[in-house]
């Protein structure tokens, strides 16, 4: 079992031109703990939408690697989206699910993955070819090394410890997050 903060810090190490979308809750705190960045877009709601936001971004910017970092509960709410990702075939999209089998923000209740639902089998069944279960930092390094490989979409089920590290809260003004993300890409407001 991996430490979630170590995992996300490792994924975002030397990130360069990487564009990042995070699902609501703990994955956003993890990305913020690794260092706030103009090219991070943190979702604070719209549960189930992290991978879809990453998909839209990846399709709009095929020249840039896009990484979605979300949790098992968030991804479970958008399982159909994995079928949509598979059909859209964004070569530059990686979806990393931090899977602790828990709903961390609501009291650590067991999620479906704690009861045997295998996200990688869902993703593979949807037709995503590169699916991985990651249980070591070497696996995390391998995932990071492939972010620019252009062989996506990649779906990674990263097994993390079910703990609850201190919250590190990112900005929650959505317009600010949107505008700074776009500005970093040289885009204007509206």
């Amino acid at each position: 079992m991996l430490d979630r903060r170590d995992t996300v810090a490792r994924l975002l190490q030397d990130r360069g031109d990487l564009l990042v979308v995070t699902g609501l809750g703990s994955p956003s705190w993890d990305a913020m703990a690794a260092g706030d960045h103009d090219s991070n877009f943190y979702l604070w709601a719209a549960m189930g939408s992290a991978a879809m936001t990453g998909l839209g971004l990846a399709l709009a910017r095929p020249d840039r690697p896009v990484l979605v970092i979300t949790g098992d509960g968030e991804q479970l709410m958008g399982l159909g989206g994995l079928a949509t990702v598979s059909v859209a075939r964004p070569r530059n999209l990686t979806i990393a699910v931090l899977n602790n089998g828990r709903y961390g923000e609501t009291g650590m209740q067991a999620s479906h993955t704690a009861h045997g639902v295998a996200l990688t089998r869902v993703a593979a069944g949807c037709g995503i070819e590169d699916v991985r279960v990651i249980e070591s930092l070497d696996g995390v390094d391998g995932l990071r090394a492939g972010l620019r490989g252009g062989a996506g979409p990649v779906f990674a089920d990263i097994r993390i410890t079910a703990d609850d590290p201190p919250k590190v809260l990112p900005p929650r003004d959505g317009v600010y997050l949107k505008n700074r993300f776009r500005a970093a890409l040289g885009l204007g407001t509206i």
Binding site: L19, V21, F41, L43, W44, A45, A46, M47, G48, S49, A50, A51, M52, T53, G54, L55, G56, L57, A58, L59, A60, R61, R64, G78, G80, G81, A83, T84, V87, A88, G174, V175, L177, K178, F181, R182, L185, L187, I190
Partner: protein, 174 residues
């Protein structure tokens, strides 16, 4: 080649193209069939079929983050699936243009379409999406153009409501 205004199904795609849209997310509906076909046939359009309508909100929002204009096509039943996800549009003021084909409001055969169909505009309004209705063929182009202007210039989330009377009766006999 049909005259503009005489074939609204044919005209919608041109309006979307002229508005600078280069990504169309959709859940199929008969009323959108021509637009969906045109999007899939156009090498300059990214056509993204969704399994459920709220996926399209993430996709269009993500596209905007990357500098691409996008629209979402759905049936009225799909509006109900979108409610919670529309918080993202509201909070971030993402440009959101959706075209909604109506059921449950005019010459409906399937009563199960009525509850959501009759709540569609109110539900969109509750979530801050302005509705532009088209019930006659001549309304479709100007209403869609007006909605696109409101979205991409006026910074207002908008839905074009393509009325069931416009679309016509669905055949249940074959």
């Amino acid at each position: 080649m049909t005259e503009p205004g005489t074939d609204w199904r044919h005209d919608i795609y041109g309006v979307l193209k002229r508005a600078g849209i280069s990504l169309i997310a959709y859940v199929p509906d008969a009323g959108h069939a021509e637009t969906i076909q045109a999007a899939n046939d156009d090498p300059d359009m990214i056509a993204v079929p969704c399994t459920t309508e709220e996926e399209g909100i993430g996709i269009t929002s993500g596209a905007h983050l990357g500098g691409t204009r996008a629209a979402l096509l759905m049936q009225s039943s799909g509006v109900g699936n979108c409610i919670n996800t529309l918080a993202m549009v509201s909070m971030c003021r993402f440009p959101f243009l959706t075209l909604v084909t109506m059921r449950g409001e005019w010459a409906e055969f399937n009563p199960w379409q009525n509850p959501m169909g009759q709540a569609t505009e109110a539900a969109l309004s509750l979530m801050g999406v302005q509705c532009f209705r088209a019930d006659r063929p001549a309304d479709v182009v100007p209403q869609t153009e007006a909605a696109a202007d409101m979205v991409f210039n006026g910074d207002q989330a908008c839905a074009v409501i393509l009325g069931q009377r416009l679309i016509g009766r669905k055949s249940w006999t074959k």
